[in-house]
Amino acid sequence: MAATHSISTRTRAATTSGIAALVLLAVAIVLPAFASRSLIQDLFFILTMLTLAQFWNLLAGYTGLVSVGQQAFVGFGAYMLFGSTILWGVNPVAALALSGLFALLLAIPTAFFVFRLSGAYFAIGTWVVAEVVRLSVAQWQAVGGGTGTSLPRDARDAMWGVEWIEVFFDVRSSEARDILAYWLALALAAATIGGIYWFLRTRRGLALAALRDNVEAAKSVGVDANRMKWIVFLVAAFGTGIAGGLIFLQNGRISPDSAFAVTQWTAFVIFIVVIGGIGTIEGPIIGVLVFFILQEALADFGAVYLIVLGLLGIAIMLFAQRGLWGLFSDRTGIQLFPVRRRLVTPDRGNS
């Protein structure tokens, strides 16, 4: 009877959460019909930070590539979006693909360089590369040099779908652009989470999880660690670049300091991942919610929320290294995105 055993990653909680996720996605798609503009903007912020956090988590949580330089890809992706719309007249929505593509191209020489370094040197190396990209972009006069530039009016008005949204929801064009950006962010976040979940359940994903748990052991059973690093680094750069393009498309204004901000695009993202729980898909989702709630709750106290955020990050790292989701998951055994393979016997009831 052994032949009828099978390997599965499915759990009851996951089936429930899978259905819940689809319902949530459906609600999120139709949300602009009811929601206020500020809620749409808040959700846009949450979704883009979530995307950045998922990619950083993929890097650091699974392959141990602790990058402090992801703002290089956020900023470069955003700048290529502005560059291609201003210089080549590309539609801003189409230019999002270029954001990802150029971030990917930047990632290739970056990887050649930073993969020669390990551990702490890698972290600092990525940061210096990001600074070099920032300072180089600041020399690019066509997109405003060191002071930055705004997205031209005609490019903004030409964005695909905006007119349709204006008519359909009966809103002004600025609000229609926010709705479009929100949908794009939703699609990006859903594709990111779905894509990572799918990837982790493939053979390569198993190799990645093995690397996360023990590099030497994974190598000994034939996992090509270097190849996995390359794949993950390039994929993360691509996704981070698109997210960067989208963030500044919605923003409408860009400058080297805001596009390559280490605090905003790397430090906060690291906090989100670590507070939520590193090395899980659920972690960044929990983390971004905590981050957002903290920001809203302490909005009236200025810099205090950053102090609280920093202290919370430190406390989690010291006392609960697997984050809030880890604490919850360890106690309940619940996994919303199960990637662990389990042996399933077909007639469990009779045995």
Binding site: V132, A138, T263, G310, G313, I314, M317, L318
Partner: protein, 287 residues
Amino acid sequence: MIWIDTIVQGVLLGGLYALFAAGLSLVFGIMRLVNLAHGDLIVMAAYLILVVVSVLGLNPFVAAVIAAPIMFVFGWILQKGVLNRTLGEDILPPLLVTFGLSVVIQNALLEGFSADSQRISMGPLETASVSAGPVTVGLLPLLTFASAILVIVGLNWIFYRTSIGRAYRATSDDPVTASLMGIRPDRVFASAMGLALIVVTIAALYLGTRSNFDPYVGPARLIYAFEAVIIGGLGSLWGTLAGGVIIGVAQTVGASINPEWQILAGHVAFLVVLLIRPRGLFPRAVD
């Protein structure tokens, strides 16, 4: 002849960067701790000196002497209470905890002192200069460079001539074996961090007198310091000085070609050195 002047200014600037980097090099070399809050600790010490100067009306040099033991105690407690728990194989915990510390320090300083930029006044010393042939150098940059050398000589003396220095080297090589010989690594690390923060206070003195500072300038200083440490090679303090000088000279040479290239040139020099020597120029300790 202008080239000689550019190089000399670059070397002196390198002294400042080496001073920023010496404390970092110390903790990195002894306990492999990547301290991302190092730049913010320098800024914090600068504010401490500023407070002592304005409250007690003292000379900045005397104020630094008062600030140094306070910073030592702060470093000791920080290491013993927090950072020791993060040390281990995984580099993420120290990285994240010091990143968190960096955000906390920056914003606490912002709450306490506002975002206005500050400066520690040194009076006539700020503009004094000496001439040697075609080259004129400021007295303050010269003093900075001399301090960097003194700090490195002093640290090397502690490292190679004292019993605590022997404990540092032993723990750096192998904390487990060192603890078998009666050394307590947690205390050794705590005193090393305290010592590093004394160096930080000296760096803060020159940071605060040579240019304006505000709560957010830490990370920019930190990156030069890290570059100096990495170029120099793990565990070599003279290497750190050499690294600082390379960054400093690259910056002044870059700036003399095009003012906008100053910082970029420093980073490019760092990348080039690392491309050729991934472990730095003079690595002493094995990673």
